[in-house]
């Protein structure tokens, strides 16, 4: 499993770095804003836009992992070695989770250290921070799962249309439900459905 994870990381290094890059930029903006006293609405607006970039980066990672596999017939070779297709898929998802954690955890730490720079300073700040962090993590993972789902398609047009529609669905969910338990529950369902569909497609189709 470790070999499979290492292979995924090495092959998709650029796409793993993309969400992490957005995360680093957000942290830099928060630090600079705090240091120079930039008004909170400006830094929050920038953060919100960069967060969209982070989600898109995660979606790209999932899409590229599956698309590169199908186009390069990588799993044809891998699945004739001592691994199953289920293990190949699991390694892929673990890399997605790892990327998400690498991107989100520093943001949460920054929000803790510099309150008001990434999340608006409100009463019961820590409670809100926890809710926002979990919802954002789940939304990011949902975007990644959507990427996995659409990336297995052979048609690039369907890949693009599918990702736009499903990402719009995730954004609307968070927009309507806000950062809370309701949004988390719906996102969890969405993640489960997308992962199940992507996994079963990958395991059962012709390679």
């Amino acid at each position: 499993m470790l070999t499979l994870i290492r292979r995924e990381i090495r092959d998709q290094l650029l796409y793993i770095a993309l969400p992490c890059f957005f995360s680093v930029v957000m942290i830099c903006i928060a630090a600079v804003s705090s240091w120079w006293g930039v008004p909170a609405p400006i830094s929050l607006a920038l953060t919100a836009n960069l967060m969209t970039g982070l989600f898109l980066g995660l979606c790209c990672l999932g899409t590229v992992q599956m698309h590169a596999d199908r186009a390069g017939r990588i799993s044809v070779l891998l699945s004739t070695l001592a691994v199953t297709r289920g293990q190949i898929f699991l390694a892929r998802v673990l890399v997605g989770v790892l990327t998400l954690l690498i991107a989100v955890i520093p943001l949460v730490i920054t929000a803790l250290v510099l309150p008001g720079q990434i999340i608006p300073r409100v009463s019961s700040y820590h409670h809100v921070l926890a809710a926002v962090s979990v919802t954002i993590s789940l939304a990011g993972f949902a975007c990644y799962s959507i990427g996995l789902l659409v990336g297995w398609r052979t048609s690039r047009a369907w890949m693009l249309i599918g990702s736009i529609l499903l990402l719009a669905l995730v954004a609307s969910l968070v927009w309507i439900k806000g950062f809370g338990v309701d949004a988390m529950a719906v996102l969890l369902l969405l993640i489960a459905a997308a992962l199940f569909r992507a996994g079963s497609q990958f395991v059962s189709t012709s390679l």
Binding site: R6, S79, T80, L81, A82, T84, R85, Q87, S206, L207
Partner: protein, 304 residues
């Protein structure tokens, strides 16, 4: 350990409503070198892909090392060496990186044997797979498949696209590898001379059906090509079961007959033959005769 590393039962495969495999059944016993033959599009690669779990069957069942192909465990995968038609290697990797990956994902890795193979092949380790010649890719694929010390080796037209020298070199090495004890081989090829050199059992697929499944010696003994000279002209009422092909010219007739036996010989003698001589047949001759469109008389093991 199962007695039959490969078992195929009533395998049926449809693609877009087109029947590719039509009820194929066969068993490959342990230690056997099985040559699977057939013309382009006869279903050889589909059989192999279904066996390896790369393709789901429409109906029927295939077992590899005792496990269902659709649910092969990592352990079973790790005991099968596969050399694919076209050599599906990761093109963007360098040779050394690909070797590292395969080594990391194998159950056993015979460093000594792999080293010997690499020394023989002299592959450039720092070159990308996509920059290797077809011959080099075939050699790399063979080396990777053999380094895991597989119980079962599946070779799907491994010499396709190789020049004569590379093909000979590849085969000589493959024979050396194959001769290691207890190894079962399923070998599909277009080049019948290659199969004849190494196979001890033959299967011939024609339009998705397995029309021949017997040992090479048995096949050669059962299909006879005879040059028959009649006293006057060739009779029009020559009825013999199992005639695959017949060509008449004056008093002479060339007959290809399946399931040849003394009864058939006696029937032929009733025509008062002037002479009846057996013509030598190579596997290629038999293959061509068996894969003619009207090959209903092709020999099945059950017909003996």
């Amino acid at each position: 350990m199962t007695d039959n590393p490969i078992v195929i039962e009533e395998l049926v495969k449809y693609y877009d409503g087109r029947c590719i495999l039509d009820g194929v059944s066969l068993r490959v016993p342990r230690g056997c070198i099985y040559g699977l033959l057939g013309r382009n599009g006869s279903g050889k690669t589909t059989v192999i892909r279904i066996l390896l779990g790369l393709e789901p069957p429409t109906r029927g069942r295939t077992l590899v090392l005792g496990e269902d192909s659709t649910r092969l465990s990592a352990n079973a995968h790790g005991r099968v060496g596969y050399v694919a038609e076209g050599h599906h290697l990761i093109q963007s990797y360098t040779v050394s990186r690909l070797i590292g990956l395969c080594k990391g994902l194998s159950l056993h890795w015979n460093d000594e044997f792999f080293g010997q193979l690499m020394e023989t092949f002299r592959l450039p380790m720092d070159r990308k797979v996509k920059d290797l010649s077809t011959g080099m890719r075939a050699q790399l694929n063979l080396a990777l498949a053999m380094a895991i010390d597989p119980e079962l080796v599946i070779l799907d037209d491994p010499t396709l696209g190789l020049d004569t020298v590379a093909r000979r070199q590849f085969l000589e090495l493959a024979i050396d590898v194959i001769q290691r004890q207890g190894r079962t081989i399923l070998f599909s090829s277009h080049i019948l001379a290659d199969v004849e050199r190494i196979a001890d059992r033959i299967g011939i697929l024609v339009a998705g059906q397995l029309v021949v499944d017997c040992s090479l010696d048995e096949l050669k003994s059962r299909v006879k090509k005879l040059r028959v000279i009649f006293p006057e002209r060739t009779p029009e009422d020559l009825y013999l079961t199992g005639i695959i092909n017949q060509q008449a010219m004056g008093r002479e007739m060339v007959l290809t007959v399946a399931n040849w036996n003394p009864q058939k010989q006696a029937i032929l003698q009733t025509f008062g033959l002037e002479s009846c001589t057996e013509m030598p047949m190579t596997l290629e001759d038999i293959f061509i005769e068996c894969t003619r469109p009207a090959s209903a008389a092709a020999p099945q093991e059950s017909e003996v």
